[in-house]
Amino acid sequence: MTEDEVVAELSSGMTIGIGGWGSRRKPMSLVRAVLRSGLEDLHVVSYGGPDVGLLCAAGRVRKLTYGFVSLDSIPLEPHFRIARQTGTVEAREYDEGAFYLGLLAAAHRVPFYPTRAGLGSDMLTYNPDLKTVTSPYEDGTELVAVPAFDIDVSLVHMNRADAAGNGQFLGPDLYFDDLFAMAAKRTFMSCERLVATEDLLREGSVHTLKIPRLHTDGVVEAPGGAHFTECLPDYGRDEAFQREYAATARDADAWDRFKADWLDLPAHEDYRARLAARQREAEAAT
């Protein structure tokens, strides 16, 4: 598939889960395809990074369910900060671990998972969807009932995949991408490189085959598809690019330029070509 073919499967108002973690292994080529589409009024579910920031900055997000929104080396996502401070998105914030349980509950098709995470904190005060549940056993403990996240479509980015939709991660952490895939009604996966099924174990051990094709509905080969977030071991984060992106939150002209240069491109190939040209310029300058 292509990014635009994936986006053609989405519609405005949907709940979209996005894999990765902060500014790490985000399906950025798919996010840019959403940005150049007319999709709006989205409910985004994410351990957020620039995916969330970009979608908020472009006014596509109605509601946000998140464990955090960070660029890692820049602790708070600057466009997310603006969205919160101007009240333009409905925020459903979860403790990072409680968020995991919302994905797990959806993956396991149970209505909730209980946890102590959130007891006593303002996670419950400001999250009208959240209820508590009392243990039916002797202890009678009151626990937070984290509801299953009802996700229409998840988007994830893997290091390798085969055409059938078996996904492989080769970096230090899978994050929660398998659960995003299981939690959603449908999942589309981009990957750095599409390989033949018989070559998957040449790329990494069997322990890296973490997303079975049972939970994927389409694969996009997108080399550099996580840029500017990190996608180890294929590439690290493009910190210089990320700093430029972050600066667009402080300057409307800079945002317009960034949008014209990097977001208003017809396809991922055009983005890659422009990025290669930028890297050649940077090398020539040093």
Partner: protein
């Protein structure tokens, strides 16, 4: 006479928060607390498990900033375990973990805010968010590193990320049974909550700081014992570990730019 500087005294005071922890995941957030955890393991709490701040548990003492996936890493680094984020949550809920977090506001009950300033629903300033604080604090031992006490200690907090003793006492049943705020260390002193009502107590005061200095930087009623000990000075071995092994480039001192 020790030539220890204030950053080194604070580092030892924070490392002391881990004394007696034995074998658990010592999981400090941010370079200064990470240095304190590494110091505790290298000196008096050898069974602690520590990560490279990414996904690997590392045996032996890593310098600040070095990670296992770093191509230029020290050849001597030994990985002893794998702690992906999911495993870290599992460990948190198992209770075999002690975190150190920061705070933008903290009150006398230990309620911590690093989520937002103003009305949460549309904050005047969005900060980090709740992050992992609600789940950490209610599930296992937590300590805090606060390098700007006067700016952080507050009569009340705008948002509770990590709940304090009053919030937890109000929970029905056994919900709060694993809650423990072990220590709060600031640039002035160390604090605990070893009081009948779980309010903050001055535990030790850093050399060169007076009780009046502490009170001037505390906008709430603080429990001050009749005799307040001085925070201990680093040993010669600890100074060697801090200066030559854990933080040879002085990253810890960045916290003290005023």
């Amino acid at each position: 006479m020790s030539d220890a500087t204030i950053d080194e005294i604070c580092l030892v005071a924070l490392a002391e928060a881990f004394r007696g922890d034995g074998e658990l995941l010592c999981h400090p957030m941010g370079p200064f607390p990470v240095a304190a955890g590494r110091l505790a393991r290298a000196s008096f709490e050898p069974d602690l498990m520590l990560t490279d701040t990414i996904a690997y548990a590392v045996a032996g003492t890593l310098p600040l900033g070095m990670i296992v996936d770093d191509p230029g890493r020290d050849e001597g680094i030994v990985v002893e375990g794998y702690l992906a984020f999911r495993t870290v949550f599992d460990q948190a809920w198992s209770g075999r973990r002690h975190v150190v977090m920061g705070a933008s506001q903290m009150d006398r009950h230990g309620n911590q805010n690093f989520a937002a300033i103003g009305d949460y629903r549309q904050p005047k300033a969005q900060l980090l968010g709740l992050r992992g604080a609600p789940g950490n604090v209610i599930n296992h031992t937590t300590s805090y590193w606060i390098p700007n006490q006067a700016r952080t200690f507050a009569e009340s907090v705008d948002v509770v990320s990590g709940p304090g003793y009053d919030r937890v006492a109000a929970l029905p049943g056994l919900g709060g049974r694993f809650h423990e705020i072990r220590r709060v260390v600031t640039e002035l002193a160390a604090y605990d909550f070893e009081t009948p009502d779980g309010t903050m107590r001055l535990r030790s005061i850093h050399p060169g700081v007076s009780v009046d200095d502490v009170l001037a930087a505390t906008p709430f009623d603080l429990v001050v014992p009749d005799e307040v000990p001085a925070s201990r000075l680093p040993t010669g071995e600890e100074l060697h570990l801090i200066r030559d092994v854990i933080d040879p480039t002085g990253i810890r001192k960045r916290e003290f730019r005023s």
